[in-house]
């Protein structure tokens, strides 16, 4: 005997996520207010508060829908080095897209608010980390024939992705593209057991 009464409106959910996304890109994080989202989505404020605790939760919801593909590891299409380089380009490009702006804003906000940081970590970053480790492991395996252990894999991921996030978050733009290919090669070299 399931419960009675009206159900949550999916169209409202989508309208809110889109409104939040749009506002963030157009006006920035500070100007993305709950009232603004409500107005733009044509929805009552109370309806937003019924389903989300804060604008950060809304953006996190929006991110989950959009970022999965933007940061996904593609199927093999060339040599491991080529595929890895291509992925780094994809990550660098991602931060220019709307979904990337959302992630950037949420990362920024996470520095300012411990709860938001925890929510972002749980809701997105750790999952993405797992996907990154899996994607990187697959490429390394294609390259060397074996999978590095967890710790080593994590270090490689940090060396590989760290510079991109660093340039984006600290200097406001992805790194020069000519950094990416050497970084990919370097990582694959480090992944060969003898170099460990």
């Amino acid at each position: 005997m399931s419960r009675t009464g009206p159900r949550r409106s999916e169209s409202i959910r989508v309208a809110v996520l889109n409104a939040a996304d749009d506002l963030l890109v157009e006006q920035g994080f500070a100007a993305t207010t709950i009232e603004g989202i409500a107005t733009r989505a044509g929805v009552a404020k109370q309806t937003i508060y019924r389903w989300w605790k804060s604008k950060v939760e809304i953006l996190l919801d929006a991110l989950e829908e959009d970022a999965l593909e933007g940061l996904a590891w593609a199927e093999p299409a060339g040599t491991p080095a080529e595929d890895l380089t291509a992925h780094l380009h994809r990550v660098a490009d991602f931060f220019q897209e709307p979904a990337g702006r959302v992630l950037q804003a949420l990362l920024g906000n996470a520095q300012l608010d411990k709860d938001a940081a925890a929510a972002l970590r749980e809701g997105f970053l750790l999952k993405q980390r797992a996907r990154d480790l899996a994607g990187l492991a697959a490429i390394i395996e294609r390259h060397t024939g074996s999978t590095p252990d967890e710790d080593h894999l994590g270090h490689l991921a940090d060396l590989l992705l760290g510079p991109i996030y660093y340039r984006v978050l600290v200097f406001g733009a992805p790194p020069a593209k000519d950094l990416l290919e050497p970084a990919a090669h370097l990582t694959l070299n480090l992944a060969t057991p003898t170099d460990n």
Copy 2:
């Protein structure tokens, strides 16, 4: 004929910077309001607005006093590899200190506010970048006897520092310490012209 009347009070300046620092560490960035700083410093709001444009400027002021030494490159004390590893440890530790928290908050806020980002870049990050490049160049020179060109040096700095900032800003804590020594050696290897 110079002007008359009282001059800017240094004690007020210090009280405001300390109040801002303390509030940030104790309550977080969002709770660090101009009104709160004014109250805690025992100062009128107007007095703050007379000398600073926003709380970001206050924190930037506070950062400039504290971060210089926290992120400074030390004098040679061992082999280049040892010195470089030691510096990476220093950077990682810096983000645990109050001054590091301020930088982290300002970096976070910079993701959310373009003006704040520009101010942080101009007021701190670019200068620190220059110091980092100089410090790294000096160590490489000791190691290889020659200085890499500007672009290459920048890439090396990104590879070296990126992972630390990445772990701090994305995962909320500095990387495992055992990542740092390999990263230092790696960077020095990459700096030798033949490996490029």
Copy 3:
């Protein structure tokens, strides 16, 4: 061919009226919300709106059941003066009872809302006025042997009841009891044609 489906549930009607009554006495008029009544009566809001237009209508419904006896003119039991005095005591006491509180609240609300005022007038006050005039006329007739004309009777009712309502509505409590007996005698005196 009469209509199908269940009819209005009497148990719900009673539950709602009681819930409204209770809430009014316990929490006051403002805190007596439709939502509160619905919750307390274990009934859906919509069900209330199906049968009543507003909380005022609910309270009016509740009043009609209780106030009739509370403000009723009793059968002759003594001299006209005694009976009139007794009635005044009954009216004064009525405002201390729950039903009196409801009337007081509805009178209060009527000052603030023209529609509510009209509803109260139509639904209760004019009927009560008629009962009061009839009761008073009966007593006067017993006393003087004749019935005063409509206008005169109305004035007498105003002089008689006015002070009680005045004390209750303006000063929050019924008048001192020793006002009531002189008022009763006075009214009867004024009712004798020669004193008019």
Copy 4:
């Protein structure tokens, strides 16, 4: 050494009181919201909350300024009976004026809210009661040469004013004018020591 800084703006105070008055008369009590008053007065909501706790306090403030003259007892101008009758006319007319509407609304609200009732009593009704007793005593003294005792005077005031308030608050309009002169004469008769 009095305090420094800007003082409360008198023009704002007046603008708020007028806006509240106007809204009450034009739209009624329920539609007289703090936000509406603020908008109409061209004032920030916070400014209202700084000086008044609720709209009731605002209206009370407004009342104090306007009701004093509207309900004042005039100087002797004729016989005591004439003056008393004139005063009753003044009271009955008062409830048709804006200030009278305010009093009526506040009386209505007082039935619904104990705190509001207490505030109204303290802030206005008890003072007005004192003025009424004094005014009535003066007229009686002119008529009979002596002043009745406190209790008796109170009863006379209740008999005199009760019917007017009763008709206004219960039936929504002042009593027929021909009630007033008999009521005045009656009261003076009752005030003569032998009739007591």
